[in-house]
């Protein structure tokens, strides 16, 4: 479970082979992505969006939690400030995901780097981070996973919006609503480095819980991630 460290930073790549590897690695989590996409399509119709609008949103925004939140605010006149603030708050965690990819974009041209970020999402990011611990150095791994998710997310939205009868209860019956959290759990175990990760991760977990209890919804990933990162930095400073 040791994580290879890249002192000085080897160059990252972005290749088709990497895209393919990443897409295949994403297969097991495409089922819940599909189901949530279909659920979004159904919920969107329920909130008064037309099918094309729900599908366009899935294609261009491609961020489930913020899309569901937008449905709650889908009124006329448009509540611009709450709607756009909610979109930012829910997606602000992407800032940390992107920052953590610094080493895996090293040496790539700006357009490749920023084009890859179009499909940055929790799941394909976690898959890449897990693969990196096994020596993966290809940003395409994240892109391939993201493209696979995008296709499934969009197709599921179209299907859900046009003719759907999947509900959250169906998902829960088979435990499928928990696939994402167990996926993150296995990733976490693969990343774990004995002793050095203990304190930062404890801080991250406590800060995230505190944020859930005391802050408005959806800030916990940002707060927990930053708190753990800073705790790690302090610990690193003491060791060297």
């Amino acid at each position: 479970m040791a994580t290879p460290f890249h002192p000085g930073g080897g160059r990252a790549t972005l290749t088709l082979a990497g895209v393919w590897r990443g897409a295949r690695a994403m297969l097991p989590v495409l089922i819940p992505v599909f189901v949530f996409g279909a659920a979004f399509g159904i919920a969107a119709r329920g909130a008064g969006l037309e099918g094309w609008a729900a599908s366009l949103m899935s294609a261009l925004v491609f961020a489930g939690a913020s899309q569901f939140a937008a449905l709650d605010l889908w009124h006329s006149p448009v509540p611009w400030v709450p709607l756009l603030l909610a979109t930012f708050a829910i997606n602000a965690r992407h800032l940390l995901l992107g920052a953590s990819l610094r080493m895996l974009t090293h040496g790539l041209s700006a357009w490749k780097r920023y084009a890859a970020m179009i499909v940055l999402s929790d799941l394909n990011w976690a898959a890449l981070i897990a693969a990196e611990a096994r020596g993966e150095r290809d940003l395409g791994y994240m892109v391939g996973g993201g493209l696979a998710m995008w296709v499934v997310w969009l197709a599921a939205t179209v299907i859900g919006a046009e003719a759907g009868d999947v509900t959250l209860a169906d998902l829960q019956r088979y435990g499928l609503d928990l696939v994402l959290v167990v996926f993150f759990t296995t990733t976490l175990v693969g990343l774990y480095r004995k002793r050095i990760d203990d304190l930062p991760w404890l801080v991250a977990g406590l800060a995230a819980l505190a944020a859930v209890w005391w802050l408005p919804t959806n800030w916990h990933v940002l707060v927990g991630g930053l708190a753990g990162g800073l705790a790690g930095l302090v610990q690193h400073g003491r060791r060297t």
Partner: protein
């Protein structure tokens, strides 16, 4: 909501969301690479995952504890991520079935 408002809202959401996706990488690009920054980013990755898993488990109650617990034990013992995920999900489904929750 009329068509032009709908299009505007979706475009605005898309722009904001992309800004969050590209912004982190952009900001960190201004910092000179150093062992300290590298260490911070590595702790950041693990901490983000912890911050995703812990609240989801605590808020998800019984079934989420069962799923995460079974997955943790399985992945440590068996070292097979996919199998561990399947065991976790199955354990949660069975827990719900027999507790009716």
């Amino acid at each position: 909501m009329n068509t032009s408002d709908t299009l505007l809202v979706i475009l605005a959401m898309a722009v904001i969301t992309y800004a969050t996706r590209a912004g982190g990488l952009w900001v960190v690009g201004f910092m000179p690479m150093s062992p300290r920054l590298e260490a911070f980013l590595r702790y950041l990755a693990g901490s983000v995952l912890v911050a995703l898993v812990v609240p989801a488990t605590v808020r998800g109650e019984g079934a989420a504890f069962v799923a995460v617990g079974a997955t943790l034990v399985s992945v440590v013992l068996l070292r097979r991520a996919l199998l561990a995920m399947a065991i976790g999900v199955l354990a949660a489904a069975l827990y719900r079935r027999y507790t009716g929750m």
